[in-house]
């Protein structure tokens, strides 16, 4: 049972690391949008997204609007 004197402090160190990590993640905005991330994990991104080698989109002029 003496091992408790070693194991419990180790557990506490891990606990502190976990809290620091979580606080860092929150602070850097990773948890700001809880709705989208929940959905995005289910969407396969590469399935139908073409490669990003398209030509630059031509700049729109004000006189070609379709409205």
């Amino acid at each position: 049972m003496e091992s408790l004197y070693l194991l419990i402090p180790i557990a506490l160190v891990f606990c502190v690391i976990a809290i620091r990590l979580l606080l860092w993640a929150i602070g850097s905005g990773q948890y700001d949008d809880l709705d989208k991330e929940a959905w995005r994990i289910l969407a396969d991104d590469d399935e139908d997204t073409p490669a990003r080698d398209k030509p630059p989109v031509t700049r729109q002029r004000s006189d070609d609007d379709h409205a």
């Binding site: 049972m1 408790l4 004197y5 419990i8 402090p9 557990a11 506490l12 606990c15 976990a18 809290i19 979580l22 606080l23 929150i26 602070g27 905005g29 948890y31 700001d32 949008d33 809880l34 709705d35 989208k36 959905w39 995005r40 289910l42 969407a43 396969d44 399935e47 139908d48 997204t49 073409p50 990003r52 398209k54 030509p55 630059p56 989109v57 700049r59 729109q60 004000s62 006189d63 609007d65 379709h66 409205a67």
Partner: protein, 834 residues
């Protein structure tokens, strides 16, 4: 992700593939997407769908869970340079209000996006933007409908981003930094941090507590028990000092104002249980309650976090009245016209207000005549004719012809800003409801302190050594966890159930206040009525049939954009189209078919070519004459029809809910009183200004009445803010929505009845919860006072009691009856994850 289940196959032929609206008869536009021909309802939808499909993002349609919004471009005749208006955002000074540029020429912009209907929209926007050369990152925040985009300003201009977003069918708008928004974001992160620390702390302390409780039952060496207590202490201390700090500060703040709130017993319980446990650890005696303290903190924080999130998710706090105004204005500078940001306007600037535009600022007309629609301002359902010298107000819509006008001031000086100010005053004067839970809390705290002192005195007589520990156990077991959760759990659950019905709850206090309503006040235009003109009656004056008359009318009106024209929009046209159609402001339309001249409009205008035209019937309808050369053809009566459910809803409110029903209208025509009589409502006065409306509500409140207001217009906003509870009906103006307690997003007036029903059930549940929480304490306190409760039993009892309260509240989420008419905007497409 590829399998698609179509829940309504019959709809696909009739509903637009993009926006889900019905495809009008004879409309045959569509494109091929993913190998199948899809049909759209308008060129706007088609343009957006082809852009999405053409850029290889057709997968969007498989991912989405709700239809898109119908793009405005195809439906509303926009002013000639509606999109040119985006160029104002290239102005460095204006751009600086919502973006920053760093040394590497990267501009980081914040853009608010209207029309995001589901998570797939965020995917579409991000994918589309990130593939544009020059854009380095695009992130959409779904919770706030906000886009953060970073782009190279040597390759792209700010307006390009706006054009791209508009082309996708969304409505971009700069997201200016507001103090309130900043604060909300900071609060969200703070809450999450507190919750995270409490959660991890709870797991740690819980682990030690299980060992302690098990050790107590099985027998454990005092040395190890002491160790476990000593390691629990610092973890619990972090949670109490960091996570639970808000309870202490709130309780203290209210206490200094002489108020006892729910947070006080919470703070007392946390503080005392923690201090007692610290003393027990240091003196190696008594019992420790670290696990209870930490668990209690975590669950309370979790409950509040979820409640806050549910509320802020749909909150429209960032809708500003000012946002309804156009961002760009056309101003005379030197010899020509220039497009400028509206915020640059100063008094005396000469503006061009185009036909169809929203008036950007209060202004006096110097040239031109037209009509402005002011229904949201005044409740008048007919447009007001204006000419040189008249004043037009910001927020109203110019309907007929271009106007030149001189700005009378800036936004601050407008009538719209004044209305907004009255709304703020009304909101400050709104009667605050003493929450049931807070009323109970005051008694509860007093009762517990009394019970604790009685216990202490009694045990000092019996066994002075145990007096301290027994008294503490009374304080801990009476922990108000269930009591603190009783109200928020029920309110959150009720709000969730209302949201599913299409009602957003903006202030949860209103849910408690709603069942106490005694008077229900309704606005007329747009609330009880549909808010637009429809053909109500046709009086033929020749051999032409009613259908023939309407077809003729529709063929002429197709050339106009006046609200009268929209009344004819859904009638089929017949015969050959008209030639050389001209519009005379304030009079009517004239068109040529072969050699015959046709006119449609006012009496005088038609009388000029058809002298036989009789006088129109004398009632409050808007009568339009139709005639051809020398022949009167018909009188067509237009009316703003009642919502079809209005009659039944008013009857139910009056008879079943037993409330006083009153009409509060700004329309000064006799239509108001007539309509009220037909519906069996009282009318105090009609033609009321917003101030008079507020006065009426104040005088009712002074007699002790609890007023519920239902409205939609800008002029209703102050009353909505002032009334004890208020509803903004679907299609209400933004200002009204920001002031109402309940916002109906989908469906008609019957939603008001459903809200009443849910609020009543919610009140019942709150009472049950409070009764249970108090009953539990009444039973537990005597047992604890007798010195019979070990800590593990106190922790268990507390958790079970809280769980019961939460489960009871969840019953509100179960709809009592199957919903008749399910929300129309619901997902018709379901993406299965096979």
């Amino acid at each position: 992700m590829n399998a698609i289940t179509e829940t309504r196959p019959a709809q696909t032929t009739a509903a637009c593939f993009h926006c889900g609206e019905a495809i009008p008869d004879g409309c045959n536009i569509g494109i091929e997407i993913d190998g199948e021909q899809r049909y759209m309802c308008c060129p706007g939808c088609k343009a957006v769908a082809s852009l999405i499909n053409g850029s290889g993002l057709g997968g969007f349609y498989r991912r989405r869970t709700a239809f898109n919004e119908r793009p405005l471009a195809g439906t509303v005749p926009a002013s000639p340079d509606a999109t040119a208006a985006f160029h104002i955002y290239d102005d460095a000074e204006l751009a600086a209000t919502f973006s920053e540029t760093d040394a590497q020429h990267m501009t980081h912009a914040r853009i608010l996006i209207g029309g995001i209907s589901c998570a797939a929209c965020t995917w579409l926007i991000e994918q589309h933007l990130e593939r544009i050369q020059g854009v380095s990152a695009a992130t959409v925040n779904l919770q706030q409908s906000r886009l953060l985009v970073a782009f190279d300003n040597r390759q792209l201009r700010m307006s390009d981003i706006f054009f791209q977003l508009e082309a996708l069918g969304y409505r971009p708008r700069p997201f200016a930094h507001g103090a309130r928004r900043e604060q909300l974001g900071a609060e969200f992160r703070d809450d999450l941090r507190r919750l995270a620390v409490a959660g991890i702390g709870m797991m740690q302390v819980g682990m030690f507590a299980i060992a302690l409780h098990a050790g107590e039952i099985q027998g454990m060496q005092a040395e190890y028990a002491g160790l476990l207590r000593w390691v629990s202490l610092p973890v619990a201390a972090v949670v109490v000092l960091y996570s639970a700090r808000s309870f202490f500060s709130t309780a203290w703040r209210h206490l200094t104002h002489g108020k006892l709130v729910m947070d006080l017993p919470v703070a007392v319980a946390i503080g005392l249980a923690f201090l007692a446990s610290v003393w027990a650890t240091v003196s190696n005696s008594g019992q420790v309650y670290f696990d209870s303290v930490v668990m209690f903190t975590f669950f309370l924080l979790l409950g509040r976090f979820l409640e806050k999130r549910a509320r802020s998710k749909h909150t429209e706090a960032w809708l500003d009245a000012e946002d309804e105004l156009p961002g760009a204005v056309t101003v005379a500078r030197g010899k020509g016209w220039e497009t400028l940001p509206r915020i640059r306007l100063v008094a005396g600037d000469k503006l061009l207000i185009r036909n169809g535009d929203t008036v950007p600022v209060d202004a006096q007309i110097v040239q031109g005549q037209s009509a402005v629609r002011e229904d949201t301002f005044s409740g008048e359902h007919l447009p007001r004719a204006v000419t040189e010298g008249d004043t037009v107000y910001a927020g109203t819509v110019n309907l007929e012809a271009n106007l030149q006008a001189v700005a009378l001031g800036t936004y601050r000086d407008t009538r719209l800003a004044a209305l907004r100010k009255s709304a703020e005053i009304g909101s400050a004067a709104k009667p605050r409801l003493a929450r049931l839970a807070d009323q109970v809390a005051a008694w509860f705290v007093a009762g517990i302190l009394l019970a604790a002192s009685a216990t202490a005195i009694a045990w000092l007589q019996i066994d002075p050594e145990r007096a301290l520990w027994v008294t503490l156990s009374v304080l801990v077991i009476s922990c108000p966890c269930a009591l603190a959760l009783a109200t928020p759990a029920a309110l959150t659950s009720a709000a969730a159930s209302l949201r599913a019905l299409g009602i957003l709850v903006r202030t949860e206090d209103a849910l408690e206040a709603l069942p106490r309503t005694t008077h229900m006040l309704f606005d007329k235009t747009g609330t009880l009525t549909e808010g637009h003109l429809e053909v109500a009656q046709v009086i033929p004056l020749s051999t032409l049939s009613e259908t023939g008359i309407l077809a003729l009318g529709a063929a002429l009106q197709i050339h106009a954009s006046h609200p009268v024209a929209s009344a004819f929009a859904h009638y089929p046209t017949a015969g050959e189209p008209f030639d050389s159609v001209s519009y005379r402001v304030g009079a009517g339309l004239q068109g040529q078919r072969g050699a015959t001249r046709y006119r449609m409009g006012s009496t005088a205008f038609c009388h000029a070519i058809a002298p036989t035209l009789p006088e129109p019937p004398d009632d409050d309808r808007l009568w339009i004459a139709l005639c051809s050369d020398d022949q009167a053809l018909a009188w067509i009566g237009l009316d703003d029809p009642l919502r079809e459910e209005a009659q039944a809803v008013i009857a139910t409110v009056r008879d079943n809910l037993d409330l006083q029903v009153e009409l509060l209208t700004g329309d000064s025509s006799p239509r108001g009183p007539r309509l009220a009589a037909a519906l069996g409502m009282a009318v105090h006065r009609h033609g009321l200004s917003p101030q008079e409306k507020m006065q009426r509500v104040r005088s009712l409140q002074a007699t002790g009445a609890r007023v519920c207001m239902v409205g939609d217009g800008l002029n209703d906003a102050p009353v909505l803010a002032l009334a004890d509870t208020s509803f903004a009906v679907s299609g209400a103006t933004d200002l009204a929505r920001t002031q109402a307690d309940f916002v109906i997003t989908d469906g008609g007036l019957q939603r008001v009845l459903q809200a009443f029903d849910v609020a009543r059930r919610c009140r019942g549940i709150i009472r049950q919860n409070l009764a249970w929480a108090l009953g539990y304490n009444l039973c537990a306190i005597p047992v604890a006072a007798a010195g019979l409760v070990p800590p593990w039993m106190a922790a268990l009892g507390m958790s079970l009691s809280s769980l019961l309260v939460v489960l009871n509240s969840l019953r509100l989420n179960k709809p009592k009856q199957a919903l008749q008419n399910s929300p129309g905007g619901g997902p018709l497409w379901k993406v299965s994850t096979s």
